[in-house]
Point group: C2
Chain length 240, copies 2
DNA sequence: ATCTCAAACGGACCGCGGTCCAGTTTCCTT
DNA sequence: AAGGAAACTGGACCGCGGTCCGTTTGAGAT
Protein backbone atom coordinates (compact mmCIF):
# COMPACT_ATOMS: atom_id res chain seq x y z
CA UNK A 1 0.00 0.00 0.00
CA UNK A 2 2.54 2.49 -1.16
CA UNK A 3 0.56 5.62 -1.71
CA UNK A 4 -1.92 5.25 1.08
CA UNK A 5 -4.04 2.62 -0.48
CA UNK A 6 -5.48 4.73 -3.24
CA UNK A 7 -8.51 2.81 -4.47
CA UNK A 8 -9.09 0.19 -1.91
CA UNK A 9 -10.99 1.14 1.20
CA UNK A 10 -14.67 0.40 1.41
CA UNK A 11 -16.77 3.40 0.68
CA UNK A 12 -19.23 4.77 3.25
CA UNK A 13 -22.93 4.68 2.35
CA UNK A 14 -22.15 5.31 -1.29
CA UNK A 15 -22.29 8.98 -2.27
CA UNK A 16 -18.55 9.64 -1.97
CA UNK A 17 -16.68 9.42 -5.23
CA UNK A 18 -13.97 7.93 -3.01
CA UNK A 19 -10.83 9.79 -3.96
CA UNK A 20 -8.30 8.93 -1.33
CA UNK A 21 -7.75 11.53 1.31
CA UNK A 22 -4.58 11.91 3.28
CA UNK A 23 -1.26 13.41 2.30
CA UNK A 24 0.25 11.65 -0.69
CA UNK A 25 3.67 12.68 0.53
CA UNK A 26 3.36 10.64 3.69
CA UNK A 27 3.48 7.36 1.91
CA UNK A 28 4.90 4.36 3.64
CA UNK A 29 5.43 0.76 2.78
CA UNK A 30 2.34 -0.58 4.49
CA UNK A 31 2.63 -3.82 6.37
CA UNK A 32 4.84 -5.49 3.87
CA UNK A 33 2.13 -7.94 2.97
CA UNK A 34 0.20 -7.44 -0.21
CA UNK A 35 -2.97 -6.91 1.81
CA UNK A 36 -5.05 -5.09 -0.69
CA UNK A 37 -8.14 -3.96 1.16
CA UNK A 38 -8.22 -3.30 4.88
CA UNK A 39 -11.15 -5.39 6.04
CA UNK A 40 -13.51 -6.16 3.21
CA UNK A 41 -16.45 -8.37 3.94
CA UNK A 42 -16.14 -11.84 2.47
CA UNK A 43 -18.67 -11.36 -0.29
CA UNK A 44 -17.23 -7.97 -1.12
CA UNK A 45 -13.74 -9.38 -1.47
CA UNK A 46 -15.00 -12.21 -3.62
CA UNK A 47 -16.85 -9.84 -5.89
CA UNK A 48 -13.90 -7.53 -6.11
CA UNK A 49 -11.73 -10.36 -7.29
CA UNK A 50 -14.36 -11.52 -9.76
CA UNK A 51 -14.69 -8.03 -11.13
CA UNK A 52 -10.99 -7.51 -11.60
CA UNK A 53 -10.64 -10.85 -13.28
CA UNK A 54 -13.55 -10.17 -15.59
CA UNK A 55 -12.27 -6.71 -16.41
CA UNK A 56 -8.82 -8.03 -17.18
CA UNK A 57 -10.28 -10.61 -19.51
CA UNK A 58 -12.48 -8.10 -21.30
CA UNK A 59 -9.61 -5.68 -21.71
CA UNK A 60 -7.45 -8.43 -23.14
CA UNK A 61 -10.23 -9.34 -25.55
CA UNK A 62 -11.52 -6.00 -26.75
CA UNK A 63 -9.07 -3.39 -25.52
CA UNK A 64 -9.40 -1.02 -22.62
CA UNK A 65 -11.13 1.58 -24.75
CA UNK A 66 -14.09 -0.70 -25.33
CA UNK A 67 -14.53 -1.65 -21.71
CA UNK A 68 -17.93 -0.77 -20.32
CA UNK A 69 -18.89 -0.93 -16.70
CA UNK A 70 -22.03 -2.85 -17.53
CA UNK A 71 -20.10 -5.47 -19.41
CA UNK A 72 -17.73 -5.96 -16.51
CA UNK A 73 -20.62 -6.31 -14.13
CA UNK A 74 -22.34 -8.82 -16.36
CA UNK A 75 -19.18 -10.81 -16.99
CA UNK A 76 -18.60 -11.03 -13.25
CA UNK A 77 -22.24 -11.95 -12.58
CA UNK A 78 -22.61 -8.96 -10.36
CA UNK A 79 -24.85 -5.92 -10.28
CA UNK A 80 -23.75 -2.71 -11.87
CA UNK A 81 -24.06 -0.86 -8.60
CA UNK A 82 -21.49 -3.18 -7.09
CA UNK A 83 -18.89 -2.18 -9.63
CA UNK A 84 -19.36 1.47 -8.85
CA UNK A 85 -19.47 0.91 -5.12
CA UNK A 86 -16.17 -0.91 -5.27
CA UNK A 87 -14.24 1.23 -7.73
CA UNK A 88 -15.98 4.58 -7.66
CA UNK A 89 -15.99 5.12 -11.39
CA UNK A 90 -14.52 3.93 -14.63
CA UNK A 91 -11.24 5.63 -13.91
CA UNK A 92 -11.06 3.87 -10.57
CA UNK A 93 -11.60 0.48 -12.13
CA UNK A 94 -8.89 1.03 -14.69
CA UNK A 95 -6.58 2.32 -11.97
CA UNK A 96 -7.20 -0.84 -10.01
CA UNK A 97 -6.17 -2.86 -13.05
CA UNK A 98 -2.94 -0.89 -13.14
CA UNK A 99 -2.39 -1.17 -9.45
CA UNK A 100 -0.02 -4.07 -9.58
CA UNK A 101 2.28 -2.50 -12.11
CA UNK A 102 1.98 0.76 -10.20
CA UNK A 103 3.13 -0.73 -6.95
CA UNK A 104 6.00 -2.53 -8.56
CA UNK A 105 7.18 0.70 -10.09
CA UNK A 106 6.85 2.62 -6.87
CA UNK A 107 8.70 -0.05 -4.98
CA UNK A 108 11.51 0.10 -7.51
CA UNK A 109 11.78 3.84 -6.99
CA UNK A 110 11.73 3.69 -3.23
CA UNK A 111 13.86 0.67 -2.54
CA UNK A 112 15.01 -0.86 -5.77
CA UNK A 113 18.57 -1.13 -7.05
CA UNK A 114 20.45 2.13 -7.61
CA UNK A 115 20.10 3.57 -11.01
CA UNK A 116 16.36 3.80 -10.38
CA UNK A 117 16.22 3.35 -6.64
CA UNK A 118 18.15 5.31 -4.03
CA UNK A 119 21.93 5.35 -4.13
CA UNK A 120 22.71 6.94 -7.47
CA UNK A 121 23.18 10.67 -8.00
CA UNK A 122 19.88 12.46 -8.63
CA UNK A 123 20.44 13.33 -12.28
CA UNK A 124 21.21 9.75 -13.01
CA UNK A 125 18.10 8.67 -11.14
CA UNK A 126 16.07 11.11 -13.16
CA UNK A 127 17.37 9.65 -16.39
CA UNK A 128 16.58 6.15 -15.21
CA UNK A 129 13.16 7.21 -13.97
CA UNK A 130 12.12 8.54 -17.35
CA UNK A 131 13.38 5.57 -19.26
CA UNK A 132 11.67 3.16 -16.93
CA UNK A 133 8.41 5.04 -16.92
CA UNK A 134 8.55 5.31 -20.67
CA UNK A 135 8.86 1.59 -21.00
CA UNK A 136 6.06 0.97 -18.57
CA UNK A 137 3.82 3.49 -20.24
CA UNK A 138 4.33 1.94 -23.62
CA UNK A 139 3.52 -1.45 -22.18
CA UNK A 140 0.33 -0.28 -20.54
CA UNK A 141 -0.68 2.39 -23.04
CA UNK A 142 -4.14 0.98 -23.48
CA UNK A 143 -5.04 1.06 -19.83
CA UNK A 144 -3.32 4.34 -19.15
CA UNK A 145 -5.05 6.07 -22.00
CA UNK A 146 -8.48 4.69 -21.26
CA UNK A 147 -8.09 5.34 -17.57
CA UNK A 148 -6.98 8.92 -17.82
CA UNK A 149 -9.04 11.07 -15.47
CA UNK A 150 -10.84 14.19 -16.57
CA UNK A 151 -8.86 17.38 -16.96
CA UNK A 152 -9.78 18.72 -13.53
CA UNK A 153 -8.75 15.58 -11.72
CA UNK A 154 -5.75 14.61 -13.79
CA UNK A 155 -3.12 16.30 -11.66
CA UNK A 156 -4.61 15.30 -8.34
CA UNK A 157 -4.75 11.65 -9.26
CA UNK A 158 -2.73 9.83 -6.60
CA UNK A 159 -0.47 7.72 -8.80
CA UNK A 160 0.51 10.71 -10.86
CA UNK A 161 0.99 12.84 -7.76
CA UNK A 162 3.31 10.28 -6.35
CA UNK A 163 5.49 10.11 -9.41
CA UNK A 164 5.56 13.85 -9.80
CA UNK A 165 6.52 14.27 -6.20
CA UNK A 166 9.34 11.84 -6.68
CA UNK A 167 10.62 13.84 -9.63
CA UNK A 168 10.35 17.03 -7.63
CA UNK A 169 12.50 15.55 -4.90
CA UNK A 170 15.16 14.45 -7.33
CA UNK A 171 15.11 17.83 -9.02
CA UNK A 172 15.43 19.65 -5.74
CA UNK A 173 18.60 17.73 -5.15
CA UNK A 174 19.92 17.98 -8.67
CA UNK A 175 19.05 21.61 -9.32
CA UNK A 176 18.71 23.32 -5.96
CA UNK A 177 18.37 26.76 -7.50
CA UNK A 178 15.35 25.92 -9.62
CA UNK A 179 11.62 25.91 -8.97
CA UNK A 180 11.55 22.16 -8.71
CA UNK A 181 7.78 21.98 -8.31
CA UNK A 182 7.16 23.60 -11.64
CA UNK A 183 9.99 21.81 -13.38
CA UNK A 184 8.70 18.49 -12.15
CA UNK A 185 5.40 19.17 -13.86
CA UNK A 186 7.25 19.83 -17.07
CA UNK A 187 9.22 16.63 -16.86
CA UNK A 188 6.16 14.58 -16.01
CA UNK A 189 4.33 16.10 -18.92
CA UNK A 190 6.90 14.68 -21.29
CA UNK A 191 6.09 11.23 -19.95
CA UNK A 192 2.34 11.70 -20.21
CA UNK A 193 0.56 8.69 -21.65
CA UNK A 194 -1.40 10.71 -24.19
CA UNK A 195 1.79 12.26 -25.50
CA UNK A 196 3.62 8.96 -25.67
CA UNK A 197 0.68 7.54 -27.55
CA UNK A 198 0.66 10.45 -29.97
CA UNK A 199 4.37 10.26 -30.64
CA UNK A 200 4.72 6.53 -30.98
CA UNK A 201 1.35 5.46 -32.37
CA UNK A 202 0.11 8.47 -34.29
CA UNK A 203 3.41 9.96 -35.46
CA UNK A 204 5.28 6.69 -35.64
CA UNK A 205 8.37 7.87 -33.82
CA UNK A 206 10.59 5.02 -32.67
CA UNK A 207 10.69 4.57 -28.93
CA UNK A 208 14.42 5.14 -29.06
CA UNK A 209 13.97 8.70 -30.22
CA UNK A 210 11.48 9.43 -27.47
CA UNK A 211 13.95 8.00 -25.01
CA UNK A 212 16.73 10.18 -26.40
CA UNK A 213 14.37 13.12 -26.10
CA UNK A 214 14.00 12.40 -22.42
CA UNK A 215 17.73 12.22 -21.80
CA UNK A 216 18.21 15.47 -23.67
CA UNK A 217 15.39 17.12 -21.77
CA UNK A 218 16.85 16.09 -18.44
CA UNK A 219 20.21 17.42 -19.51
CA UNK A 220 18.77 20.78 -20.51
CA UNK A 221 16.54 21.14 -17.52
CA UNK A 222 19.27 20.27 -15.06
CA UNK A 223 21.81 22.22 -17.11
CA UNK A 224 24.11 19.26 -17.16
CA UNK A 225 25.95 18.23 -20.27
CA UNK A 226 23.90 16.83 -23.05
CA UNK A 227 24.97 16.34 -26.66
CA UNK A 228 26.23 19.92 -26.14
CA UNK A 229 25.90 22.36 -29.05
CA UNK A 230 28.73 23.90 -31.07
CA UNK A 231 30.72 26.30 -28.96
CA UNK A 232 29.29 29.77 -29.33
CA UNK A 233 26.12 31.00 -27.70
CA UNK A 234 22.80 30.35 -29.49
CA UNK A 235 21.89 31.87 -32.80
CA UNK A 236 20.18 35.23 -32.68
CA UNK A 237 19.46 36.41 -29.20
CA UNK A 238 22.11 36.68 -26.51
CA UNK A 239 19.58 38.84 -24.63
CA UNK A 240 21.37 40.32 -21.63
CA UNK B 1 -9.45 31.17 -41.54
CA UNK B 2 -5.99 30.77 -40.19
CA UNK B 3 -5.66 27.07 -39.67
CA UNK B 4 -7.63 25.90 -42.63
CA UNK B 5 -11.06 26.62 -41.34
CA UNK B 6 -11.06 23.97 -38.66
CA UNK B 7 -14.68 23.65 -37.66
CA UNK B 8 -16.60 25.38 -40.35
CA UNK B 9 -17.28 23.50 -43.55
CA UNK B 10 -20.60 21.77 -44.04
CA UNK B 11 -20.41 18.10 -43.28
CA UNK B 12 -21.34 15.45 -45.84
CA UNK B 13 -24.38 13.28 -45.07
CA UNK B 14 -23.54 13.26 -41.39
CA UNK B 15 -21.47 10.27 -40.33
CA UNK B 16 -18.10 12.05 -40.36
CA UNK B 17 -17.01 13.33 -37.01
CA UNK B 18 -15.62 16.16 -39.12
CA UNK B 19 -12.06 16.53 -37.96
CA UNK B 20 -10.42 18.80 -40.44
CA UNK B 21 -8.27 17.12 -43.00
CA UNK B 22 -5.39 18.75 -44.77
CA UNK B 23 -1.93 19.60 -43.60
CA UNK B 24 -2.01 21.94 -40.62
CA UNK B 25 1.41 23.21 -41.59
CA UNK B 26 0.09 24.63 -44.82
CA UNK B 27 -1.94 27.28 -43.12
CA UNK B 28 -2.55 30.54 -44.86
CA UNK B 29 -4.36 33.71 -44.08
CA UNK B 30 -7.55 32.92 -45.97
CA UNK B 31 -9.15 35.70 -47.93
CA UNK B 32 -8.49 38.35 -45.37
CA UNK B 33 -12.17 38.76 -44.68
CA UNK B 34 -13.63 37.24 -41.57
CA UNK B 35 -15.74 34.93 -43.72
CA UNK B 36 -16.54 32.24 -41.25
CA UNK B 37 -18.13 29.47 -43.23
CA UNK B 38 -17.49 28.92 -46.92
CA UNK B 39 -21.00 28.68 -48.35
CA UNK B 40 -23.49 27.78 -45.67
CA UNK B 41 -27.11 27.66 -46.63
CA UNK B 42 -29.12 30.59 -45.32
CA UNK B 43 -31.01 28.64 -42.67
CA UNK B 44 -27.87 26.83 -41.61
CA UNK B 45 -26.00 30.08 -41.11
CA UNK B 46 -28.86 31.53 -39.14
CA UNK B 47 -29.03 28.50 -36.88
CA UNK B 48 -25.29 28.48 -36.44
CA UNK B 49 -25.39 32.06 -35.21
CA UNK B 50 -28.31 31.32 -32.92
CA UNK B 51 -26.52 28.33 -31.46
CA UNK B 52 -23.31 30.19 -30.78
CA UNK B 53 -25.19 33.02 -29.18
CA UNK B 54 -27.19 30.66 -27.03
CA UNK B 55 -24.12 28.70 -26.05
CA UNK B 56 -22.25 31.82 -25.11
CA UNK B 57 -25.11 32.95 -22.93
CA UNK B 58 -25.41 29.59 -21.21
CA UNK B 59 -21.68 29.43 -20.58
CA UNK B 60 -21.76 32.91 -19.10
CA UNK B 61 -24.63 31.88 -16.88
CA UNK B 62 -23.68 28.44 -15.67
CA UNK B 63 -20.07 27.90 -16.69
CA UNK B 64 -18.71 25.85 -19.53
CA UNK B 65 -18.62 22.71 -17.46
CA UNK B 66 -22.37 22.69 -17.10
CA UNK B 67 -23.09 23.25 -20.77
CA UNK B 68 -25.17 20.49 -22.31
CA UNK B 69 -25.81 20.07 -25.99
CA UNK B 70 -29.50 19.66 -25.38
CA UNK B 71 -29.70 22.89 -23.45
CA UNK B 72 -27.96 24.76 -26.23
CA UNK B 73 -30.32 23.30 -28.78
CA UNK B 74 -33.34 24.19 -26.70
CA UNK B 75 -32.11 27.71 -25.94
CA UNK B 76 -31.56 28.28 -29.64
CA UNK B 77 -34.96 26.80 -30.52
CA UNK B 78 -33.31 24.22 -32.70
CA UNK B 79 -33.20 20.46 -32.81
CA UNK B 80 -30.45 18.57 -31.10
CA UNK B 81 -29.39 16.99 -34.35
CA UNK B 82 -28.68 20.41 -35.76
CA UNK B 83 -26.15 21.18 -33.07
CA UNK B 84 -24.26 18.01 -33.79
CA UNK B 85 -24.44 18.45 -37.54
CA UNK B 86 -22.96 21.90 -37.23
CA UNK B 87 -20.29 21.35 -34.63
CA UNK B 88 -19.61 17.65 -34.71
CA UNK B 89 -19.51 17.16 -30.98
CA UNK B 90 -19.27 18.94 -27.68
CA UNK B 91 -15.59 19.61 -28.17
CA UNK B 92 -16.34 21.16 -31.54
CA UNK B 93 -18.92 23.48 -30.09
CA UNK B 94 -16.59 24.66 -27.36
CA UNK B 95 -13.84 25.11 -29.93
CA UNK B 96 -16.16 27.27 -31.98
CA UNK B 97 -16.76 29.43 -28.95
CA UNK B 98 -13.02 29.85 -28.63
CA UNK B 99 -12.56 30.48 -32.30
CA UNK B 100 -12.49 34.23 -32.08
CA UNK B 101 -9.83 34.34 -29.41
CA UNK B 102 -7.99 31.62 -31.26
CA UNK B 103 -7.80 33.57 -34.48
CA UNK B 104 -6.73 36.71 -32.75
CA UNK B 105 -3.92 34.85 -31.10
CA UNK B 106 -2.82 33.20 -34.29
CA UNK B 107 -2.88 36.49 -36.12
CA UNK B 108 -0.72 38.04 -33.44
CA UNK B 109 1.81 35.26 -33.89
CA UNK B 110 1.89 35.42 -37.64
CA UNK B 111 1.74 39.13 -38.27
CA UNK B 112 1.53 40.98 -34.99
CA UNK B 113 4.09 43.36 -33.54
CA UNK B 114 7.56 41.94 -32.83
CA UNK B 115 7.98 40.50 -29.44
CA UNK B 116 5.20 38.05 -30.24
CA UNK B 117 5.05 38.38 -34.00
CA UNK B 118 7.91 38.08 -36.45
CA UNK B 119 10.89 40.37 -36.14
CA UNK B 120 12.29 39.53 -32.74
CA UNK B 121 14.93 36.85 -32.10
CA UNK B 122 13.40 33.40 -31.62
CA UNK B 123 14.14 32.98 -27.94
CA UNK B 124 12.53 36.29 -27.23
CA UNK B 125 9.53 35.26 -29.29
CA UNK B 126 9.31 32.03 -27.34
CA UNK B 127 9.24 33.92 -24.09
CA UNK B 128 6.54 36.22 -25.36
CA UNK B 129 4.59 33.31 -26.76
CA UNK B 130 4.40 31.56 -23.43
CA UNK B 131 3.46 34.65 -21.51
CA UNK B 132 0.76 35.55 -23.98
CA UNK B 133 -0.65 32.05 -24.12
CA UNK B 134 -0.58 31.86 -20.37
CA UNK B 135 -2.64 34.99 -20.11
CA UNK B 136 -5.09 33.82 -22.69
CA UNK B 137 -5.41 30.41 -21.08
CA UNK B 138 -6.14 31.89 -17.72
CA UNK B 139 -8.79 34.10 -19.26
CA UNK B 140 -10.49 31.25 -21.06
CA UNK B 141 -9.79 28.48 -18.58
CA UNK B 142 -13.41 27.46 -18.32
CA UNK B 143 -13.85 26.91 -22.02
CA UNK B 144 -10.44 25.37 -22.55
CA UNK B 145 -10.92 22.90 -19.76
CA UNK B 146 -14.43 21.91 -20.71
CA UNK B 147 -13.51 21.70 -24.38
CA UNK B 148 -10.45 19.54 -24.00
CA UNK B 149 -10.61 16.63 -26.41
CA UNK B 150 -10.18 13.03 -25.34
CA UNK B 151 -6.67 11.73 -24.79
CA UNK B 152 -6.40 10.17 -28.25
CA UNK B 153 -7.41 13.33 -30.06
CA UNK B 154 -5.75 15.88 -27.84
CA UNK B 155 -2.54 16.20 -29.79
CA UNK B 156 -4.12 16.15 -33.21
CA UNK B 157 -6.54 18.92 -32.35
CA UNK B 158 -5.91 21.63 -34.94
CA UNK B 159 -5.55 24.65 -32.67
CA UNK B 160 -3.05 22.86 -30.52
CA UNK B 161 -1.21 21.53 -33.54
CA UNK B 162 -0.88 25.01 -34.88
CA UNK B 163 0.58 26.41 -31.69
CA UNK B 164 2.90 23.50 -31.22
CA UNK B 165 4.11 23.82 -34.75
CA UNK B 166 4.82 27.47 -34.16
CA UNK B 167 6.88 26.62 -31.11
CA UNK B 168 8.75 23.97 -33.06
CA UNK B 169 9.70 26.52 -35.71
CA UNK B 170 10.97 28.97 -33.15
CA UNK B 171 12.90 26.24 -31.41
CA UNK B 172 14.45 25.07 -34.64
CA UNK B 173 15.82 28.54 -35.07
CA UNK B 174 16.81 29.07 -31.49
CA UNK B 175 18.32 25.65 -30.82
CA UNK B 176 19.29 24.16 -34.16
CA UNK B 177 21.05 21.22 -32.57
CA UNK B 178 18.03 19.99 -30.64
CA UNK B 179 15.13 17.71 -31.49
CA UNK B 180 12.78 20.65 -31.83
CA UNK B 181 9.73 18.49 -32.43
CA UNK B 182 10.05 16.73 -29.11
CA UNK B 183 11.08 19.86 -27.26
CA UNK B 184 8.09 21.72 -28.62
CA UNK B 185 5.82 19.13 -27.08
CA UNK B 186 7.50 19.68 -23.76
CA UNK B 187 7.11 23.41 -23.92
CA UNK B 188 3.48 23.17 -24.99
CA UNK B 189 2.80 20.79 -22.15
CA UNK B 190 3.82 23.45 -19.67
CA UNK B 191 1.14 25.69 -21.11
CA UNK B 192 -1.53 23.02 -21.05
CA UNK B 193 -4.86 24.28 -19.77
CA UNK B 194 -5.31 21.44 -17.30
CA UNK B 195 -1.91 22.15 -15.80
CA UNK B 196 -2.52 25.87 -15.58
CA UNK B 197 -5.79 25.14 -13.88
CA UNK B 198 -4.16 22.81 -11.42
CA UNK B 199 -1.39 25.21 -10.54
CA UNK B 200 -3.42 28.37 -10.27
CA UNK B 201 -6.81 27.12 -9.07
CA UNK B 202 -6.04 23.95 -7.19
CA UNK B 203 -2.59 24.77 -5.80
CA UNK B 204 -3.13 28.49 -5.59
CA UNK B 205 0.14 29.50 -7.20
CA UNK B 206 0.19 33.13 -8.27
CA UNK B 207 0.20 33.61 -12.02
CA UNK B 208 3.48 35.45 -11.67
CA UNK B 209 5.24 32.33 -10.47
CA UNK B 210 3.88 30.29 -13.33
CA UNK B 211 5.09 32.97 -15.69
CA UNK B 212 8.53 32.94 -14.11
CA UNK B 213 8.52 29.18 -14.48
CA UNK B 214 7.98 29.58 -18.19
CA UNK B 215 10.82 32.01 -18.61
CA UNK B 216 13.10 29.72 -16.65
CA UNK B 217 11.99 26.72 -18.67
CA UNK B 218 12.70 28.49 -21.94
CA UNK B 219 16.11 29.48 -20.66
CA UNK B 220 16.99 25.94 -19.69
CA UNK B 221 15.62 24.33 -22.78
CA UNK B 222 17.37 26.74 -25.11
CA UNK B 223 20.44 26.73 -22.89
CA UNK B 224 20.42 30.48 -22.74
CA UNK B 225 21.02 32.37 -19.54
CA UNK B 226 18.41 32.17 -16.91
CA UNK B 227 18.77 33.10 -13.25
CA UNK B 228 21.96 31.02 -13.65
CA UNK B 229 23.05 28.85 -10.70
CA UNK B 230 26.07 29.29 -8.47
CA UNK B 231 29.29 28.74 -10.38
CA UNK B 232 30.30 25.12 -10.09
CA UNK B 233 28.73 22.28 -11.99
CA UNK B 234 25.66 20.54 -10.47
CA UNK B 235 25.75 18.54 -7.32
CA UNK B 236 26.49 14.89 -7.59
CA UNK B 237 26.75 13.59 -11.12
CA UNK B 238 29.08 15.07 -13.71
CA UNK B 239 28.55 11.87 -15.69
CA UNK B 240 31.03 11.76 -18.56
C1' DA C 1 -28.40 -20.86 17.73
C1' DT C 2 -30.17 -16.41 17.21
C1' DC C 3 -30.38 -11.57 16.94
C1' DT C 4 -29.04 -7.30 14.91
C1' DC C 5 -27.41 -4.01 11.94
C1' DA C 6 -23.86 -2.03 9.21
C1' DA C 7 -22.23 -3.33 4.90
C1' DA C 8 -22.93 -4.90 0.54
C1' DC C 9 -25.95 -6.00 -3.31
C1' DG C 10 -28.39 -5.36 -7.75
C1' DG C 11 -31.10 -3.58 -11.03
C1' DA C 12 -34.35 0.16 -12.12
C1' DC C 13 -33.59 4.72 -13.12
C1' DC C 14 -31.63 9.22 -14.91
C1' DG C 15 -29.10 12.47 -17.91
C1' DC C 16 -26.23 13.33 -21.52
C1' DG C 17 -23.50 12.66 -25.67
C1' DG C 18 -24.11 11.06 -29.98
C1' DT C 19 -26.79 8.83 -34.18
C1' DC C 20 -30.56 8.09 -37.46
C1' DC C 21 -33.81 9.07 -40.75
C1' DA C 22 -38.23 10.77 -42.54
C1' DG C 23 -39.69 15.09 -43.71
C1' DT C 24 -38.66 20.10 -44.99
C1' DT C 25 -36.14 23.97 -47.01
C1' DT C 26 -33.03 26.23 -50.02
C1' DC C 27 -31.28 27.31 -54.16
C1' DC C 28 -29.71 26.03 -58.71
C1' DT C 29 -31.24 24.79 -63.28
C1' DT C 30 -34.08 25.16 -67.18
C1' DA D 1 -42.34 29.51 -62.65
C1' DA D 2 -41.47 24.90 -61.92
C1' DG D 3 -38.82 21.05 -60.69
C1' DG D 4 -35.54 18.39 -58.38
C1' DA D 5 -31.60 17.19 -55.74
C1' DA D 6 -28.57 18.37 -52.15
C1' DA D 7 -28.43 20.33 -47.77
C1' DC D 8 -30.54 20.90 -43.65
C1' DT D 9 -33.80 19.98 -39.76
C1' DG D 10 -35.66 17.94 -35.46
C1' DG D 11 -36.82 14.74 -32.37
C1' DA D 12 -37.09 9.80 -31.45
C1' DC D 13 -33.70 6.62 -30.31
C1' DC D 14 -29.49 4.23 -28.33
C1' DG D 15 -25.66 3.15 -25.12
C1' DC D 16 -23.09 4.17 -21.32
C1' DG D 17 -21.59 6.32 -17.01
C1' DG D 18 -23.33 7.15 -12.76
C1' DT D 19 -27.02 7.20 -8.81
C1' DC D 20 -30.78 5.52 -5.79
C1' DC D 21 -32.92 2.72 -2.80
C1' DG D 22 -35.41 -1.47 -1.29
C1' DT D 23 -33.52 -6.05 -0.22
C1' DT D 24 -30.07 -9.40 1.28
C1' DT D 25 -26.11 -11.05 3.80
C1' DG D 26 -22.15 -11.54 6.65
C1' DA D 27 -20.24 -11.44 11.15
C1' DG D 28 -19.85 -9.73 15.90
C1' DA D 29 -22.80 -9.72 20.23
C1' DT D 30 -25.80 -12.29 23.36
Amino acid sequence: MLYAGFMSAALPPFPQPQENVGPPELLQLGTGTDADEPCLRADAARNRARLLEAAERLVAEHGAGALTMEAVAAAACVGKGTVFRRFGDRTGLLAALLDHSERKFQAALLSGPPPLGPGAPPVERLRAFGCALLRRSIDELDLLLAGEPSAERRHTFPPRRFLRHHVALLLREAVPDADSELLSHTLMAYLDAALIHHLTQQCGLPAERVRAGWLDLVARVTRTDGPVPAADTPATAPSA
